[in-house]
């Protein structure tokens, strides 16, 4: 029996009534939020730039927890996988950490001769007031490499603000490299982080269409590529949150148009390729895209059909970082014959939720910035058999005897592209149909999800006191 979080009422929706998701805000104080900080956002976005130095300016923790946590693969240098910290101590907090930062940067650049350096500010730096930008500038001038301050003080917003800070830093790199050998049929891949080699898959598709991929930002990223990214004819941006800011900035500054795409699922992947071909108005390129899509789909479809037969009608819950991924996952699950009964994101905005509402079934529950209690409750009520989420969600799913698929930093197989769809289908099949769930005699298994009309809740649509469909339910109602 739990009471609901009153503050969260407008961050949950389970009907088709018009609504505006009240997202984009800090987690309610005291809730067990699944969210992270600005620094976290910047760190995950910039981390895959493999030949840059990444120095975390702050106490040790912020660096320790982000040491090689994301499987962003590099085809060459692996400097990004090391953990560098100024490891601020009490004296630095009192007297300021600029000297230490200067020393650390100088030492590191001396040892590794990186192509560029990113310096991340953490909460404490924001409070003690170090002039990080000035130190970066000085070291940059002395060492003759770009040294970029990332303004990622943890408390100054949400993870999304961290994406922005990262994009601003990248923006300083763009435009500083030569663009001579870049042709008109060229693009940058923005917002893919090469987890389990996904950027490589995407790059191959584009190259097969006859396109020149100038920079992949930031998956398998290289400083020199990013510096000349402004020479590309198009930016293709994946995911709603992380890289749109950079694409916008490049549009304003260099007039480079951008397309928003997703690489997850057959539908979205194909659409991405067609959209790009369309953009270049090149019939031959479009033809190549068509042939490639046909080939790829033909190759994976028989196996997907086979897997689908074991998954038909099963219920899934999706909880992602960004919203675009949630869209793709809902579609991909449909491809597998599954129903999404719960969808939520950490960083979606009101428009994203509107779109998600339209995409999902009428009775799909939408949540913004959820917490484990809420998740567990919905999973049980809706008879969920698969949860897609990240590291903090996995044990919750397993405890409830529910299958799980990591679609976050810790995924181990490539889930993007056509091959990725097949991998995804396999992963979902492996967990959903595993015999181990039968070992758990959960009471939930006997009573399947409660029908909608038995909720006793007066919004008329769902069982949930947190439902923000009108009329608003009594505050602090007991579930």
């Amino acid at each position: 029996m739990i009471n609901i979080l009153q503050e969260r009422e407008r961050q949950v929706n389970c009907g088709t009534e018009p609504f505006r998701m009240d997202c984009d805000k800090h987690s309610a104080a005291g809730s067990v939020s699944q969210r992270a900080c600005v620094f976290c956002g910047s760190r995950v976005v910039l981390y895959p730039v493999a030949d840059a130095l990444h120095l975390v300016h702050g106490p040790i923790g912020c660096a320790a927890y982000t040491w090689d946590i994301r499987g962003s693969l590099s085809s060459g240098p692996e400097l990004h996988r090391m953990s560098f910290s100024t490891d601020l101590r009490e004296m630095d907090v009192i007297f300021g950490g600029e000297k230490r930062l200067y020393g650390a940067l100088t030492d590191l650049i001396g040892i590794y001769r990186p192509k560029a350096a990113f310096v991340y500010s953490t909460c404490i730096v924001g409070v003690i007031g170090d002039d990080v930008a000035a130190v970066c500038k000085r070291v940059g001038a002395e060492q003759q490499i770009p040294v970029l301050a990332v303004h990622s003080e943890g408390f100054k917003g949400t993870k999304k603000d961290g994406y922005q800070a990262a994009c601003s830093a990248l923006g300083e790199l763009v435009g500083t490299g030569p663009t001579r050998d870049i042709g008109p049929r060229s693009l940058n891949v923005l917002g893919d982080f090469n987890i389990a080699g996904e950027t490589w898959a995407i790059r191959r598709y584009y190259e097969r269409m006859g396109l020149q991929v100038v920079a992949t930002v930031t998956g398998d990223g290289r400083v020199d590529d990013i510096r000349r990214a402004h020479g590309a004819a198009l930016n293709v941006v994946q995911c709603s949150g992380a890289m749109t800011h950079l694409a916008r900035a490049m549009k304003d500054k260099y007039g480079i148009p951008f397309l928003r795409v997703s690489y997850f699922g057959i539908e979205d992947m194909s659409k991405a390729l067609y959209d790009v071909a369309d953009h270049f108005r090149d019939a031959a390129m479009m033809e190549r895209a068509r042939i490639m899509v046909r080939e790829e789909v033909t190759r994976i479809l028989p196996e997907i059909r086979r897997l689908r037969s074991g998954l038909e009608g099963k219920r899934a819950a999706v909880y992602t970082g960004g919203a675009f991924k949630a869209f793709s996952l809902v579609r991909s699950l449909r491809t597998l014959g599954m129903k999404t009964v719960l969808a939520g994101t950490q960083t979606g905005n009101a428009d994203d939720y509107q779109a998600l509402r339209e995409l999902c079934d009428d009775d799909t529950v939408l949540v913004d910035d959820t917490n484990p209690l809420e998740l567990a409750k919905f999973i049980q009520e809706r008879g969920v058999e698969l949860l897609i989420g990240g590291v903090k969600e996995r044990p919750v799913a397993y405890k409830l005897g529910v299958g799980f698929c990591d679609h976050n930093h810790e995924r181990k197989t490539c889930l993007a592209g056509f091959e990725g769809m097949l991998n995804f289908a396999r992963e979902v099949h492996a967990t959903v149909t595993s015999p181990v769930w039968k070992l758990i005699r959960s009471s939930r298994r006997e009573t399947t999800a409660a029908p909608l009309d038995q909720c006793g809740h007066d919004c008329g649509r769902c069982t949930l006191p947190m439902c923000c469909g009108a009329p608003v339910p009594p505050a602090n109602a007991v579930i």
Binding site: I2, G30, S31, V32, S33, Y65, A104, K392
Partner: protein
């Protein structure tokens, strides 16, 4: 391309202001772990969201369990005006929504730097009626620019004494002791309780994460699992006849505090890892049980000795590199010395004063053959440099050693925190005699696997 080729051997330059690949982490996660060892306790991170999220993720990865903790969700405003409003709202939310018995607040670098006074904020909350009858808020200050995760663990454990321990009568309860197990795994805490029971004593073990972070699968998600030391038990610690603190860094301060507050005499011992350290623990327990050692324990010791003697040729002349927390390292090193493996390189990022001295005692006349480093710049990078210059036969430490293990092809036993890539530590203890057998088994396993993998066919042998 081999990973970590960014580490070079050769002359080791002293770095001034830089930690590379740390062998420590920050205070709050230790406080969070300790707080989870109180029954129905919600740890609370007073700071911005990121820290809490990282700590929970790391604990979740280590235990493969859901880890509950709340945050004050600081914003720019709170960083200027202080976090009182946030903490008040948080307490209200916590008690109405999650219904814990205890909320254990720890600070973060941010709230420490802006100077929030937690006792005062909590006092206000009490006055405003935000804390329901029979519920408690305790706190520990855990700035990470001081100490390390071990310090955080020690501080939160001391807070348990400060807030709860009481002495109801001048007479102590005969046959009941307190054991502060130190930062060990839930399985170790369970094993410590078993040993105490076998010795015929009753013990209050605090903190106690067994039954919290090693929960049985029941098909339910319990916000507050069954385990953990209760508030009543914590109160009663003041009336026990003695306290045994395992690990001077993590457990020492709380034991001392209990002596000051309630006159409970304390004995501070090394973590009972390995033969001698376990002997010391058993000897300490004998002081309270009339001196007897049950057959079962004597036999466990005998079995450990038997294994050591059976396999001693495989230890002879070998060397090891270790990293992690000081309490763990001191006992592990002692055990290695016992079986004739030299702990050649030992590194801990946790600063302190007594560790180097203790290591000196452990190493005895082989001191000059070993390198021990503590505090700033004592990190995995330094350790790797040492190893590149002169390799060792065995690595013992947390998951972060896997880069070195792979790069240098050295057998690797995972031990400590965090372990992000293996299981077992949750379930199988390494304390006590039985735990030492487990450790030996792991050491032998990785060592012999390497021999088997690499021996030429004519020397590839079926039997030992």
């Amino acid at each position: 391309m081999t990973l970590l080729r960014h580490t070079h051997g050769g002359t080791i330059t002293e770095r001034q202001a830089l930690t590379i690949n740390p062998a420590k982490t920050c205070q709050p996660i230790g406080a969070m772990y300790a707080a989870l060892g109180i029954h129905r306790c919600l740890p609370h991170s007073h700071g911005s969201q990121g820290c809490c999220s990282y700590h929970r993720s790391t604990l979740s990865r280590h235990y493969k369990e859901p880890v509950m903790a709340a945050t004050s969700s600081f914003t720019e405003g709170s960083s200027v005006f202080g976090g009182q409003a946030n903490l008040h709202q948080a307490l209200q939310t916590a008690f109405t929504t999650y219904e814990p018995d205890v909320v254990a607040v720890h600070t973060t670098c941010l709230s420490e730097t802006i100077g929030d006074d937690i006792p005062q904020i909590v006092q206000k909350a009490t006055e405003e009626g935000l804390i329901p009858e029979g519920k408690y808020v305790i706190h520990a200050n855990t700035p990470s620019y001081v100490g390390s995760a071990c310090t955080g663990f020690a501080n939160m454990t001391t807070a348990m004494v400060d807030y709860f321990s009481a002495s109801a009568s001048p007479d102590k309860v005969a046959g009941r002791i307190n054991v502060i197990p130190g930062w060990v795994e839930p399985a170790d805490m369970r094993e410590i309780k078993r040993i105490v029971r076998l010795m015929g004593l009753e013990a209050i073990v605090f903190p106690d994460t067994s039954g919290v972070l090693d929960c049985p699968q029941t098909g339910k998600h319990e916000l507050f699992p069954r385990g953990g030391v209760t508030v009543d038990q914590l109160r009663a610690t003041g009336d026990s006849i003695g306290t045994i603190a395992l690990g001077p860094v993590c457990s020492g301060p709380a034991a001392a505090q209990l002596t000051t507050r309630c006159r409970v005499p304390n004995t501070v011992l090394p973590l009972p890892i390995g033969l001698h350290a376990t002997d010391a623990f058993i000897m300490a327990l004998r002081k309270y049980n009339g001196g007897k050692v049950p057959r079962e324990i004597a036999d466990e010791r005998g079995r450990l000795l038997d294994l050591i003697t059976d396999m001693h040729q495989y230890f002879y002349g070998r060397t090891a590199a270790l990293w992690g927390d000081p309490d763990q390292l001191a006992s592990l090193s002692q055990f290695l010395m016992t079986i004739d493996i030299l702990p050649k390189y030992v590194v801990t990022g946790t600063p302190g004063t007594k560790f180097l001295k203790r290591m000196g005692e452990v190493l005895g006349d082989r001191k000059s053959e070993a390198q021990v480093r503590q505090g700033p710049r004592a990190d995995m990078f330094l350790m790797h440099q040492w190893i590149k210059n002169e390799p060792v036969d065995l690595l013992i430490g947390n998951t972060y050693g896997k880069y070195i293990a792979r790069d240098e092809n050295i057998p690797f036993v995972r031990h400590g925190f965090p372990l992000l890539d293996r299981v077992g530590h949750q379930y199988i203890p390494t304390v006590g005699y039985a735990g030492a057998i487990r450790l030996l088994e792991q050491i032998l396993q990785v060592t012999l696997d390497k021999i088997d993998r690499e021996s030429p066919e004519e020397q590839f042998e079926l039997t030992l």
